[in-house]
């Protein structure tokens, strides 16, 4: 009897302890890392810049897809063509998965050109993803004799293209065409902003400008310009012709036609990869792999979120995402270049 009672008691105890155990387990079970935390996205431009609008849009939708739905805030850190933000994210911010950077896609140029100011290794950033891939085009005033890139090749006096500074597409794209296609452009740089170049084109001070296809279709003055055939597009830099620009050849088609050398092609790939990096979001090196994965997944999911896409359309922000994995391998590719390419890069960037 006593035996049975004791057995019963032990049974009860076991039973009770089971009850005790369950809540204890769930208390000690790890709460999601991001719960109650705040993620900062360091944006490399001033507030309100087009570069700034994408991270701000993301910040509204990312938390939904991160376990623990953390707060996300934007910190603008403009200056030195995004180098300040990139150096900060890479060197100063803690690799705890709570700092992200929205930096310029072509900063690897600085690394390739071996600039001391670039205090990062492009390949070691943890790439989270990119909201949009952006290819470029070159427009030319229609009332000039330059109807094709062939005309530019044969021109006695080269056309004048406007740009803001040596690190702008307005400067290095025409340079790249010179290097790979044998065209000649006179580059007039020093304009305050892209809009000032457009105004100079309208006035006839310069005749051409290279910039992104996205902007060409999103904004004035280009909408009016296209209506009155004020400019024509001579070349585009995507692998395939853009749906909306069926008549303009790609740089790759022209490189085939003009039998560009292997080293020239390589140079083109390196420079144009900037378009594939698009508007990248990165984390510093050394962030625990599981947190990188959480953010990459969250990025991929939120960039496909229906509400986000609707909102992006409303705000006139084109979305064409690139995944973190893609960017990670692309980063390795672009940085591994032989010395002759590095030398041509430096020449291209006016050094």
């Amino acid at each position: 009897m006593a035996q049975r009672l004791r057995g019963l008691r032990i049974g009860w105890l076991l039973f009770l302890s089971l009850y005790l155990f369950i809540p204890v387990q769930s208390v000690f079970a790890q709460a999601p890392f991001y719960q109650g935390k705040t993620i900062t996205i360091v944006v490399a431009t001033k507030a309100g810049d087009l570069y700034d609008l994408y991270p701000r849009l993301l910040a509204e939708y990312l938390p939904k897809y991160i376990p623990g739905s953390p707060n996300i805030i934007i910190q603008n850190m403009p200056g030195a063509g995004s180098l300040i933000a990139a150096n900060y994210v890479y060197n100063v911010s803690k690799p705890d998965g709570l700092t992200l950077g929205a930096i310029y896609p072509t900063l690897y140029f600085e690394q390739l050109a071996k600039k001391d100011e670039a205090k990062f290794d492009w390949t070691k950033f943890n790439w989270i993803g990119s909201t949009i891939r952006s290819n470029n085009l070159l427009y030319m005033r229609s009332d000039t004799p330059f109807k094709t890139m062939d005309d530019v090749r044969k021109a006695a006096t080269p056309p004048k293209c406007g740009g803001t500074g040596v690190s702008s597409t307005g400067y290095y794209m025409p340079k790249l065409f010179e290097e790979t296609l044998g065209t000649k452009f006179d580059i007039v740089s020093g304009y305050q902003a892209g809009a000032d170049v457009d105004l100079a084109v309208e006035r006839g001070e310069v005749q051409c400008r290279a910039f992104t296809i996205t902007s060409y279709f999103a904004r004035e003055p280009f909408i009016s310009w296209r209506k009155r055939d004020f400019v024509r597009v001579l070349i585009q830099t995507g692998a395939k012709r853009d749906e909306r620009l069926k008549d303009a050849p790609t740089i790759y088609e022209l490189m085939n036609r003009y039998k560009t050398s292997e080293s020239g092609r390589r140079l083109a790939t390196v420079v144009l990869s900037g378009g594939d990096f698009g508007r990248p979001i990165v984390m510093p090196p050394g962030v625990p792999a599981d947190r990188v994965k959480i953010l990459r997944d969250a990025f991929t999911k939120s960039i496909q979120d229906k509400d986000l896409l609707k909102e992006a359309q409303k705000r006139n922000l084109e979305i064409d995402p690139g995944s973190g994995d893609e960017l990670q391998s692309l980063a390795k590719e672009v940085v591994a270049q032989p010395p002759d390419i590095v030398q041509r890069m430096q020449k291209l960037l006016g050094q």
């Binding site: 309100g48 500074g165 040596v166 105004l199 001070e205 310069v206 705000r315 006016g350």
Partner: protein
């Protein structure tokens, strides 16, 4: 045309557009008052809120209404404390703050608000009147012409120099040299960056202006140990006196408003330059030049009108070409896109009423804020009679917040301190500070336009008729005070001869 003009007005006055306008004004009031927190940054922050406003006019009431009043209330901070409330209000410190010291804060505030309101109306009317001739007007000025205009601006350094021309020219030269700091946009060369990434973009105007003008005044206030005003409240301190001043110098206010419109139309230049040019113009016209910088009300009226009228001018290139005339216009275009409007030549044809609504927003917002200001001006002016030791911590806080928000960079504070130090000694040894700022602002622009002109046209641009005309105007501007002085003397001497 008239129909669209009136329809624009009704749309602004209709509910909920008018409510949004009031909200925008309320925000803009504080943004302007607080140094550093500028209209541009606030616009960026407000933009997402405008996404949900369905009607384009209502969205614009909110955004443009906010932007339109920042210039007005920014003037108040400059006058009361000697701290520029907005970057474009710095010129008001020169004579506005000395007026506060003389116990005439109310008068200065009244003059600033009234001239701002007139400037805004002139700016808006110019916008409305120029709609048919917008395109040729904007295309008139290419890089060669803009280069000569920056040179014209630089010649005003002589006027701003005050009593000592040599010191003024040297200060201007230092400003021009400081403008060389940063990445050279033509070759990518790094100039005087001392290994600091912060200096790649050159010196930001805000921390420099805040340091140069505000810090010496705060030190001075601490040393004097009194309130900002040296004298007890007097009779001439009234707000109404300032309003009367505006009408006493009505043509000066008109001319400075037009200067503002003109600089608004020109790309890149804008209110930051217009304020100094119109200050120089106002001071140039003083019969007794020694009054400049010691609290001449003309020095408040000129920049007060100009920095508000630029807004109207600013909208002209935006509407004529869909090309933004300034950073804030670029953001406004973004707001219009969201409500499905493409600002530009098309919009002028299809939605002229929206364009006129903008004109009305500029006018109505400024009239409302002027009325609002008059309600509180006497109270604001009373701040200048508070003991300095109570004000100083608050002022220092404003100074450092103001300069830090320029780039969110700690170096901004360092720059403020360095230029505060420099400014203090400049004041101590009688060196004028405005030429330095003007040199810094115009130096970079002038260099770029010279380079662009030469790259685009070789040396041929020197013979453009427009360039030659502008050069002649520049010479006339330089020669005018001397001629006037001589003539004035001649007239003065004649009666004596007769006797």
């Amino acid at each position: 045309m008239l129909e669209a003009f009136l329809s624009g007005l009704w749309q602004v006055l209709a509910w909920p557009a008018f409510g949004y306008l009031l909200l925008g004004i309320a925000i803009g009031f504080w943004v302007g008052l607080l140094p550093g927190i500028g209209g541009l940054a606030t616009l960026a922050l407000l933009l997402p809120f405008s996404y949900n406003i369905k009607s384009p006019v209502a969205a614009f009431c909110f955004l443009l209404g906010m932007l339109a009043v920042t210039g007005t209330t920014g003037d108040l901070t400059s006058i009361l404390f000697g701290i520029p409330g907005e970057g474009s209000s710095a010129a008001l410190i020169l004579d506005g703050y000395p007026m506060s010291k003389k116990g005439e804060a109310g008068r200065a505030l009244g003059a600033a608000i009234m001239s701002s309101a007139i400037g805004a109306v002139i700016g808006a009317l110019s916008l409305a009147l120029s709609i048919p001739i917008m395109r040729p007007l904007v295309l008139l000025f290419g890089s060669p012409e803009l280069f000569i205009i920056t040179i014209m601006g630089i010649t005003f350094i002589g006027t701003l120099a005050g009593s000592s021309l040599i010191k003024g020219l040297l200060a201007g030269g230092i400003g021009l040299m400081l403008a060389a700091i940063g990445v050279d946009p033509q070759t990518g060369a790094l100039r005087y960056t001392l290994g600091a990434l912060y200096l790649w973009d050159g010196l930001d105007i805000t921390p420099v202006a805040v340091g140069l003008f505000a810090i010496p005044e705060i030190v001075d206030l601490a040393v004097r140990g009194t309130s900002i005003s040296n004298v007890p409240r007097g009779k001439l301190s009234g707000v109404m006196e300032g309003v009367k001043d505006t009408f006493r110098h009505f043509w000066l206010v008109m001319r400075c408003s037009l200067i503002g419109v003109y600089f608004g139309v020109l790309p890149v230049l804008g209110a930051n330059v217009a304020q100094w040019i119109s200050y120089a113009h106002a001071v140039n016209g003083l019969k007794d030049r020694s009054r400049a910088g010691k609290g001449a009300v003309e020095g408040v009226l000129g920049p007060g009108a100009a920095n508000n009228s630029t807004r109207g001018g600013d909208l002209i290139p935006t509407l004529a070409f869909g090309i933004p005339g300034s950073g804030s216009m670029a953001l406004l275009i973004g707001a219009l896109l969201i409500v499905g409007l493409q600002p530009g030549p098309e919009m002028l044809k299809t939605r002229l009423d929206v364009t006129f609504a903008m004109v009305w927003i500029l006018i109505i917002a400024n009239l409302i804020v002027a009325a609002l200001c008059f309600l509180v001006l006497n109270q604001l002016a009373a701040l200048t009679f508070i003991r300095g030791s109570l004000l100083i911590p608050f002022l220092l806080f404003l100074v450092f917040i103001g300069s830090f928000t320029a780039n969110n960079n700690l170096y901004d504070l360092l720059v403020t301190l360095i230029f505060g130090f420099l400014g203090y000694f400049m004041v101590l040894y009688g060196w004028p500070r405005p030429p330095l700022i003007l040199g810094l602002i115009l130096g970079k622009m002038g260099e770029n336009y010279l380079w662009i002109s030469t790259q685009a046209y070789g040396a041929k641009w020197l013979l453009f008729p427009s360039v030659i005309i502008l050069i002649l105007i520049t010479i006339a501007v330089i020669a005018y005070p001397t001629i006037k002085e001589k003539r004035g003397k001649a007239r003065y001497e004649r009666p004596e001869d007769a006797i």
